[in-house]
């Protein structure tokens, strides 16, 4: 299977981040980068839905919340190892994602976006009402004050090791998306994106492949939520508000949904930029103004986002550096 230069660079950067990043940062930045890595996976899921199928999912962070809930519940309710819990979290969130998306599978464009937003709104109400499991009893598993400890992977109990672990899972998630892009689902999604009539005329079962896309996006969001639960040990409903799902989708467009590093840019804008503002004594909420301006910029002049612009510069440079006779 052929690989692109951009893909090879991506894998190399991820491996370098696994080795060096935890050595270079510490304290709160370790937690910020771990959280950024988790949101990178969720942004990648939203971006692939948009880039490959032209489907706008505004429930990605809410699905992360589902993943976080399942992970916490499994952690406190069972003695299973972290990896099994994470896998179950991904699979369950994928199933829930498909189930919630069933009414939306025949919808397109704005209507699909609105349905996913309503799903995010519904989940927000559930999270705020019932909170996240913290070791209590019963189905919801919530106890009033103190929380039981969270079991991280045996291999990654420290913050630094856990950051490495999360980046490795994010890398696997990206490779999974790429595997889909290059094989039967990717071809079917490309036809659906062109037009549903073209897909049907090609023998593509449009409903099944849309459901598959929701399943993959739910799986990745679930893994992201499960990893975030492992990073923080306890989740706050405010993290998974519907508005956060909208913001993450908008930032995926700003970052560039067509390219893998667009999701990294989106998550960095979402998590790192507010932290930098905070460190500089600037109100982190001001980032929303920057995001709004960036979205306007992306919609009007850079449809492939910041990643598209970086690729444009990269292509220009390689063309310029190439010997004249070969241009």
């Amino acid at each position: 299977m052929s690989t692109t230069l951009s893909g090879r660079i991506g894998v190399a950067l991820a491996l370098m981040a696994i080795v060096f990043l935890p050595m270079l940062i510490g304290g709160q930045w370790m937690r910020i980068f771990t959280s950024t890595a988790c949101f990178t996976l969720a942004a990648a899921a939203a971006a692939f839905m948009y880039a490959r199928l032209n489907m706008v999912s505004l429930a990605q962070v809410a699905l992360m919340g589902v993943g976080g809930w399942v992970m916490l519940r499994l952690n406190h309710g069972t003695a299973l190892p972290f990896e099994i819990n994470l896998l179950l979290t991904g699979v369950l969130t994928a199933a829930i994602s498909v189930l919630l998306a069933l009414p939306a599978l025949r919808m397109r464009g704005l209507y699909l976006a609105l349905i996913t937003l309503m799903i995010a709104g519904g989940l927000e109400v559930i999270f705020s009402t019932y909170r996240f499991p913290n070791g209590g009893t019963g189905f919801w598993g919530v106890m009033p004050s103190a929380a039981a400890p969270f079991r991280r992977p045996v291999l990654a109990e420290s913050d630094g090791a856990y950051l490495r672990y999360v980046i490795a899972v994010v890398l696997i998630g990206f490779l999974l998306i790429d595997l889909h892009r290059r094989t039967r689902p990717g071809r079917a999604w490309a036809m659906i994106r062109r037009s549903e009539a073209a897909a049907l005329a090609s023998g593509v079962n449009v409903t099944a492949f849309k459901a598959w896309a929701f399943a993959l996006s739910g799986l990745l969001a679930g893994l992201a939520g499960g990893l975030l639960a492992g990073a923080l040990g306890l989740l706050d409903p405010a993290t998974f508000r519907a508005s956060e799902s909208v913001l993450l989708f908008a930032l995926s467009v700003v970052g560039g949904a067509q390219y893998w590093f667009g999701a990294v840019i989106a998550a960095a804008l979402y998590r790192v930029l507010p932290a930098l503002f905070n460190n500089a004594g600037i109100d982190p909420n001001l980032t929303l103004v920057i995001f709004g301006a960036a979205l306007l910029h992306a919609i009007t002049t850079a449809p492939d986002g910041i990643a598209g612009q970086i690729m444009g510069v990269f292509r220009g440079l390689t063309a310029w550096l190439r010997p004249k006779g070969r241009r």
């Binding site: 039967r184 071809r187 079917a188 490309a190 036809m191 994106r193 062109r194 037009s195 009539a197 073209a198 897909a199 049907l200 005329a201 090609s202 023998g203 593509v204 079962n205 449009v206």
Partner: protein
């Protein structure tokens, strides 16, 4: 049994489609037996509607029998798996897929070994002259190459019924001629029956031995192409020549 399963024939029986108060197809019946048959008529006559009904994109009253199978009972994607191929007035290639992948997507849904599918795909690319462009993204093709890719998509996966909806739109005379030559080969290469919609009467005369003429959703003539085109009713409705008397 052989007659029921193997009769190389497409039969439309009383197809009727209504959009609100408008009757887009009004009890249209025809039995296509020729290797290549034409469907002609003025704009809005119901030609593309007929293809969309056969594709399963529109619900219609009536029945469609192809090679003895009632394909109207099949879901649209199942009709493709059964052997229905079609092109669209505005070609519908996925620009971000390679030429080969635009063909492979059809084979993905069909049974067969990877080796058989590779051979099928290679033959379709060879026949259409696209072999050298197999790995190029469809977005980088010119109009004619895109039409050729459309034809290649109609050649693969053992098609039984192939429908071309104005395939020569936007092509030069030379390109139209080359495309016509390819379309004429489809039956010989695959055994499929071909239905062709086009406004180019020369192309229809050259390729189609039978032709159905529609006007305002009604069948106004059907039969041997030369006789149909000489029909005064057809000339009045389609060619703009007034009917004598």
């Amino acid at each position: 049994m052989a007659a029921a399963e193997g009769a190389a024939m497409i039969e439309l029986n009383d197809l009727t489609v209504r959009f609100g108060g408008v009757t887009a197809l009004d009890a249209v019946s025809a039995r296509f037996k020729a290797p290549v048959s034409g469907i002609i008529g003025p704009n809005g006559a119901g030609k593309t509607t007929t293809m969309n009904v056969i594709s399963g994109f529109l619900r219609a009253q009536g029945s469609i029998s192809a090679f003895g199978t009632d394909i109207a009972r099949l879901a649209p994607h199942r009709r493709s798996q059964w052997g229905l191929r079609r092109s669209f007035q505005r070609e519908q290639l996925a620009d971000d897929l390679s030429v080969a992948d635009n063909l492979q997507v059809i084979l993905d849904a069909l049974p067969g070994t990877a080796q058989e599918k590779r051979a099928d795909l290679a033959q379709a690319l060879e026949v259409t002259g696209l072999a050298a462009r197999a790995q190029q993204l469809a977005g980088g093709l010119n109009t004619f190459e895109r039409r050729l890719t459309d034809v290649a998509r109609c050649l693969i996966g053992r098609p039984r019924l192939v429908m071309f909806d104005e395939p020569a739109g936007g092509l030069t005379q030379d390109e139209t001629h080359r495309l016509g030559t390819l379309i004429a080969q489809v039956h010989g290469l695959t055994g499929a029956l071909v239905l062709l919609i086009d406004h180019d009467v020369d192309l229809i005369q050259r390729l189609c031995s039978e032709t159905l003429v529609l006007d305002f959703g009604r069948r106004i003539a059907f039969g041997e192409t030369r006789a149909v085109l000489a029909d005064p009713a057809v000339q009045a409705a389609y060619l703009g020549i007034e009917e004598a008397g």
